[in-house]
């Protein structure tokens, strides 16, 4: 089948822009100041707007633009209700972790979450297990994002899956490798703007095409009234939806790709601004995109699941606009992958290689192996995405909740609870991970809740027990973190 080049042109232009940014930001890494601090955390220079956008872009992935609205297409308003749970997550993360991390990471020169865990718990096993867990989960999640992106590309442009994978896979790998964290943050900011514009275009187009809200609602009442209810006629049970306040709500405080952003901003003002901008923009995206899915079912009927949003896009937007729109979800995917890629690389270089591998290497070599590691992980992920092995798809099922199970309590209790210690963190990581695997495989969902809820409950109990009865923190650590 011939592809649609009118859709392709704005997309390609967009990708070229991403390259330009990488080349621009690359010159910072050769400037003054440490290479590590620049490449992996952008010299801690993010302002409020960029911080807000990079946070949003990182956690609005393929699922917020394609998967979620696709479900809203069949379920209706109840699924928008579920999506709205993510809105206050941005300010919760920044408000609870932001300033603590800003101070601590400057004191100990941390560029990764593991750096922080190392300083706080001073335990080799914690450092290694968290880094390894992160790299594995990120790799699987990145492959999944690549697959989502390439499928979307295929659906909208008509070109093959492989071409899609090559075009946008290469783009994201190259600009992340060359530009480092600074390129990731700036491209994320631009991608955030593209996502907002895409949402506005599509929402206006769909309401217009459906003959106005009143007409669409009348059609809903007539053909599928259960789509008007908060439970989707019983398909979204209340305990299930409430557990999303944990899964995509407060447990996001543990996701390393989110928390590392709290190490990269410039000053208090940036943080304050980012809390407000981030919440306003996330709210707009969630509300807008899921409304498109919900209303779209009665304007462009006959689609399903992941095919819904691409189908609607091609139908209601002129090709050039469709091209810009499709850049939206691709942007969301790329910006999720880029931040995982840079973190996985940081973790391998900083947390594993420099800590336990060869010591003392000069700046230039470090520079070279950092570029190489980022590139190699990217290429590896790309190769897996061409013909994804089922193990990857399987691991990805565990990635999101698994990361939360590992990182949430050690991160947050370490910052706010003086008695939190290495024994507590260790036992919590192990029991959290194991119980999450078991609950997911055997579908243990007490009271209809998502398995993340009992997992985190167990991990919390073991953390507290381990901390109360385990070895005490040394005075130096307490002084470093709590000042007394």
């Amino acid at each position: 089948m011939m592809g649609n080049s009118m859709i392709l042109i704005p997309m390609i232009l967009y990708l070229v822009l991403m390259f330009a940014i990488a080349i621009y930001t690359n010159k910072f890494t050769s400037g003054k100041g440490g290479f590590m601090e620049e490449y992996f955390i952008g010299g801690r220079s993010m302002g409020g707007f960029v911080l807000a956008m990079t946070l949003i872009a990182t956690y609005s992935s393929a699922s917020s633009f394609v998967g979620g609205p696709g479900v809203a297409y069949s379920m209706g308003y109840g699924w928008i209700l579920l999506a709205m749970i993510q809105v206050p997550t941005a300010f919760l993360t920044l408000g609870v972790l932001g300033k603590k991390f800003a101070i601590i990471s400057r004191k100990i020169n941390a560029v990764t979450v593991t750096d922080y865990l190392k300083a706080r718990y001073n335990n080799k096993f914690i450092v290694i297990s968290t880094s390894v867990a992160m790299v594995i989960f990120f790799a699987a999640a990145m492959v999944a994002q690549f697959i989502g992106g390439a499928k979307l590309f295929e659906a909208v442009t008509g070109y093959s899956y492989f071409i899609g994978l090559v075009i946008f896979g290469i783009t994201v790998i190259v600009y992340t490798t060359i530009g480092g964290f600074r390129a990731v943050a700036i491209t994320d900011a631009i991608q955030g703007i593209v996502m907002v514009l895409a949402t506005i275009f599509l929402l206006v187009a769909i309401i217009h095409a459906g003959g106005g809200m009143a007409a669409i609602t009348a059609k809903m009442i007539e053909t599928n009234p259960s789509a008007l209810t908060p439970t989707a006629g019983g398909k979204i049970p209340i305990p299930f939806i409430l557990s999303f306040w944990v899964l995509v709500g407060f447990a996001v405080l543990g996701l390393p790709q989110t928390t590392v952003r709290c190490m990269g901003f410039k000053d208090s003002k940036s943080l304050h601004r980012a809390m407000v901008i981030g919440t306003v923009v996330v709210g707009f995206l969630m509300l807008g995109m899921h409304l498109v899915g919900t209303l779209g079912a009665y304007v462009v009927p006959g689609l399903a699941g992941d095919g819904a949003i691409p189908g609607i896009t091609v139908k209601v937007l002129p090709p050039i606009l469709a091209g810009i729109f499709i850049a939206g979800p691709l942007a969301a995917i790329m910006s999720t992958v880029d931040s995982m890629l840079i973190l996985a690389s940081a973790s391998i270089i900083k947390d594993l290689y420099l800590n336990y591998g060869k010591g003392n290497i000069d700046e230039k070599t470090l520079n070279k192996i950092s570029f190489m590691t980022t590139g190699i992980i990217g290429i590896g992920v790309f190769i897996f995405a061409i013909k994804p092995p089922s193990i990857i798809v399987w691991i990805n099922l565990f990635a999101f909740g698994g990361l939360e199970a590992v990182f949430l309590w050690p991160t947050i209790l370490g910052l706010y609870w003086k008695k939190a210690n290495a024994d507590g963190a260790l036992i919590s990581i192990v029991t959290g991970l194991i119980s999450f695997f078991i609950f997911t495989i055997y579908k243990v969902n007490p009271f209809g809740m998502h398995q993340i809820v009992p997992t985190l409950a167990i991990a919390l109990v073991t953390f507290i027990a381990g901390s109360l009865w385990g070895r005490k923190n040394d005075a130096e650590t307490i002084k470093l973190f709590f000042g007394e």
Partner: protein
């Protein structure tokens, strides 16, 4: 501010943040399930949206954005992230 005072301020800000989070949660639950669990024939519509959705999600979005902007402006303080002389001694 010395490190201890900074920490106290940060703890205060964290509590305010969590408070706002709970406020939005209650708003979200109360309107979605307070109004939305009625029979569909009794639904009211505002601007074409079911009223539970309008209040819970659309007004809820506004009700988190504005209080947040207000609270951040009023209670959140500028903190220097670098260690200053006062702390070192």
């Amino acid at each position: 501010m010395n490190f201890k005072e900074k920490n106290n301020q940060i703890n205060k800000e964290a509590k305010i943040t969590v408070g706002l989070y709970l406020f939005f949660f209650i708003w979200w639950v109360a309107f979605a399930y307070g109004i939305g669990l009625k029979d569909i024939s009794e639904y009211k519509y505002i601007l074409g949206f079911p009223s539970w959705f309008f209040y819970s999600c659309i007004v809820g979005y506004v009700m988190i954005s504005f209080p947040l902007a207000f609270v951040v402006k009023k209670y959140f303080k500028d903190i220097d992230f670098e260690e200053n002389d006062e702390e070192v001694k």
